[in-house]
């Protein structure tokens, strides 16, 4: 393949990675931005979303799209429910203390991982894509499903932006993010906002997982790399910034795609980590974050 088409293919692959990464990192960013909780278990919500997607899709017969659509709805709801219970049973009791919740979410990571290993097993299992249409480009054919993943991610990101910036619930979330004590002094039930945000953050990770599982496969250890990349995205973009998350996900995803194709995936990870280090040194609040006052 000539260089030009090769570059287009690498960019498309990078965009798919960016799309999924943006959704997952957005969940992580929301949770930290609003609650000041570093959720180390975020990757396991992603894994749980994928594993549940396999279980749900397998339970439905008929056309693969039926099982996939069922998984796309049910899996995030279950994962959101798990996050809600975890918040009430663990994080709330720790009074959302930043240090204690890091340790607690590490514990949650291992619990979810081992539950998945026990009931799902160590195998990697695929979920069939809802359709197998290929888009014919002048140089090569490309998966229509992958393009749909990019489109779905854009829609979800726009929906999140709309909720955060144009609705009352978004205003409540932003007020809690900026100053939780003052928010309480104006009647905002901060505890309930935290629970809701933690559940929504986990659901975004689960949606990302359901979208990716027809491309990669569901596995009980699949949460590790996306968690690392999500942290990289969130640090570069600025914690709590939707715009920053999207820009950083594009930067990391597309560069990962291109560098992986033309050089090696390891070099892509080295460069991403180097960029994070530079951001932490020269702009610790991230590209679009606000400096702490």
């Amino acid at each position: 393949m000539a260089f030009g088409p090769h570059l287009i293919l690498a960019t498309l692959e990078g965009l798919v990675t960016s799309a999924v990464l943006a959704l997952m990192a957005l969940g992580l960013s929301l949770v930290f931005g609003v609650m000041r909780v570093v959720n180390v278990a975020h990757g396991e919500f992603y894994m749980l979303g994928a594993v549940l997607a396999w279980a749900i899709a397998s339970a439905f017969g008929g056309h693969p799209s039926i099982g996939f659509l069922a998984a796309l709805v049910i899996s995030p709801l279950i994962v959101g429910g798990v996050a809600l219970v975890a918040d009430r049973l663990v994080l709330k009791r720790l009074d959302y203390n930043p240090e204690a919740t890091i340790v607690a979410t590490i514990g949650l990571l291992y619990i979810l991982q081992q539950v998945a290993l026990t009931f799902y097993g160590p195998e990697a299992r695929p979920v069939q894509a809802p359709f197998t249409y290929r888009v014919s480009l002048p140089w090569f054919g490309y998966s229509g499903y992958k393009l749909a993943v990019i489109g779905a991610s854009i829609l979800l990101l726009l929906a999140t932006w709309f909720v955060l910036s144009r609705t009352r619930i978004g205003m409540i979330m932003r007020a809690t993010q900026y100053d939780s004590e003052t928010a309480q002094a104006f009647g905002i039930p901060v505890g309930r906002v935290y629970t809701g945000v933690f559940a929504v953050g986990a659901m975004l990770a689960a949606v990302a997982a359901v979208l990716i599982v027809p491309i990669s496969q569901a596995h009980y250890l699949m949460g590790r790399d996306p968690l690392l990349l999500s942290f990289i995205v969130v640090i570069i973009g600025g914690l709590g910034s939707l715009r920053g998350t999207v820009v950083a996900a594009l930067l990391i995803g597309v560069s990962d795609g291109i560098i992986s194709v033309f050089f090696s995936p390891t070099l892509a990870k080295i460069i991403a980590t180097f960029v994070v280090a530079m951001v932490l040194v020269f702009r610790p609040q991230g590209l679009f974050g606000t400096a702490a006052r």
């Binding site: 007020a175 900026y178 002094a185 104006f186 009647g187 905002i188 039930p189």
Partner: protein, 235 residues
Amino acid sequence: MADALSVRGVDCFYGETQVLYSLDLSLRQGEVHCLLGRNGAGKTTALKCIMGLVPARAGSIRLGDVELTRLPPHEVPRAGVAYVPQGRRLFAEMTVAENIEIGLMARHMGSDVREAVLDLFPVLRERLRQRSGTLSGGEQQQLAMARALCLEPRVLLLDEPTEGLMPSMIAKIRQSVATLRDRGVSTILVEQRVDAVLKVADRVSFIENGRVRETVEVDRLREDPDIVKRYVGVT
């Protein structure tokens, strides 16, 4: 007439450090009651304790028939107590209109209340779409008061509202407090400026080491400035 707000024997802690010791305070209907004291005396903590932001470990805080210490913090403003914190604490990234909307939401107030509040602080009407963090200090203070008044409170807690403001703006804030008193709003005002206190207050309580040492009518302060010197160190 029953007190608008009554604080009885309240103990308050930051972690294991006790800050308020059996604090007693009564706020009459429609009065402006100032809290004076040195830095660290417990004035701000007293306001936070009334709001439930720092929980009272002992004692009672009653708003009419409602025992505020039994309510979660977010229910206190819904009961009718509004708070203007020290340093304004606006949601700086949000617009003026959004800050006002947050105030209206707590007690489900409508556009009539919004308009009444904007009539009281007309400069805000011209700035509705501006980010509140970009307002001048005086405008920010007016927004902080407007946001609190959107609750149509029975009791207003003001923590150093004139701090860092130019004299013309101090006069404006003082006038707003007087207007609210005329409308029947009872106010607890934490203030460092004794001259401002003498102009606007009905009564003054002196707080020292987390206790109310003395409560006097403001006329007595004019007659005997030594009281202020005793508790605050300056006149």
